[in-house]
């Protein structure tokens, strides 16, 4: 346990180790630590930003959905309206058409009745002529009496 040159040796060795640590050990490790700290901070900031973005996107999608719903409702209302309009128009048209058909039918019927009457009138005159001939017992000149008969027919 004597104080001897070991003392100097230890001091020099100490200085060398300190120098080595200062030069080659501390700075790179500290740099790596700092770098990692920065990376982690960046990552956290990015995550925060992502969260914010997500929130914004959620808001936007909710807005879009709401808008779309509104638009769809509008479209449905519009189409409902249009549909009822169409039905209304079709009804009116159908009504007109039916009127027209009824009118035409009526005209035709009238015509038919007139024609039938005309025929009937003819036949009645023929029958009356035949009947009168028989009653009179003699031949009647159809030609000479035709004028009379025609007059009669017109009166019926």
């Amino acid at each position: 346990m004597n104080i001897n040159a070991t003392l100097l040796g230890q001091t020099i060795m100490f200085a060398m180790f300190v120098w080595f640590s200062m030069k080659f050990v501390w700075p790179p490790i500290m740099a790596a630590l700092e770098e990692r700290k920065k990376q982690i901070a960046d990552g956290l900031a990015a995550a925060e930003r992502g969260k914010h973005d997500l929130e914004l996107a959620a808001h936007r999608s909710a807005d879009l959905i709401r808008e779309a719903k509104e638009k769809a409702a509008e479209i449905i209302a519009q189409s409902d309206k249009r549909g009822s309009e169409l039905i209304e128009a079709a009804k009116i048209q159908a009504h007109a058409e039916s009127e027209r058909i009824v009118t035409a039918a009526k005209a035709e019927i009238d015509q038919e009745v007139f024609r039938a009457k005309e025929q009937l009138r003819m036949q009645v005159s023929a029958v009356a002529l035949a009947g009168a001939g028989k009653i009179l017992g003699r031949e009647i000149d159809a030609k000479s009496h035709n004028d009379l008969l025609e007059k009669l027919v017109a009166e019926i």
């Binding site: 104080i3 001897n4 040159a5 230890q10 060795m13 180790f17 200062m22 490790i29």
Partner: protein, 280 residues
Amino acid sequence: MTTEVLTSADYIRHHLQNLTCGLHEGQIHCAHNAEEAKEMGFWALNVDTFVVSLVLGLFFTLLFYRVAVKAKQGTPSGAQNFIEWIIEFIDNSVRGSFTGRSALVAPLALTVFLWIFLMNLMDLVPVDYIPYLAEKAGLGHFKLVPSTDPNATIGMSLGVFFLVIYYSIKIKGIGGFFGELALMPFQSSNKLVQVLFMPVNLLLEGVNLIAKPVSLALRLFGNMYAGEMIFILIALLPFYAQWTLSLPWAIFHILIVTLQAFIFMTLTIVYLDMAHQEHH
């Protein structure tokens, strides 16, 4: 390790003897006992202290260097994790105690802490293993724990002391440094009284200054020497009974090992912080 008093004393003495090599009676060889070591005077070398501390120092610097070279920013693994944990612990200690800015203090604290920690840790190696192996190898003595050799502790504290003086002069200038020694703690507005106070101040502050390296070195040396001594005494017990004492003492010693390294480091930081601060 026998029961005889004389051999017990020899055993203890043997364990406390460094492997001191130097010039003795005209030729270089290693001392066989304390007297021979003393006769070698100053120009002798405690080879065991020197070699063990060199190996330990190389061990941690190269280990850290390997990690430092490969240090990457991604997810660290294994050794890098552990070493970054140590580095952050040291960095926090330095930030807590050192107010200035210096590229030296943190690596200095790292070196002080790890080197002393490893040297102290050698105390946990059973006291007989290494001397036994050394004897087989033909070496008379071998003290494994460098911090039980005052040369190692004083050597480190001298290094710290030089740094304290260097930074005191660098920051405050020679005048400022001596002013700090001569003009405090007693001050007077009267110039004549101030001059009369000077020798007293110099004495007080001088003692204060010298006490820093001395207390640093002797605190570490004393603690480790005492711990080693108790291990040696426990080793005198019969082998089947030793563990009853050596186990608790070793467990307690783990605390001392770390604590002493931490105290040396913290005081080094504080002393350098004081050297960097200007007093008015």
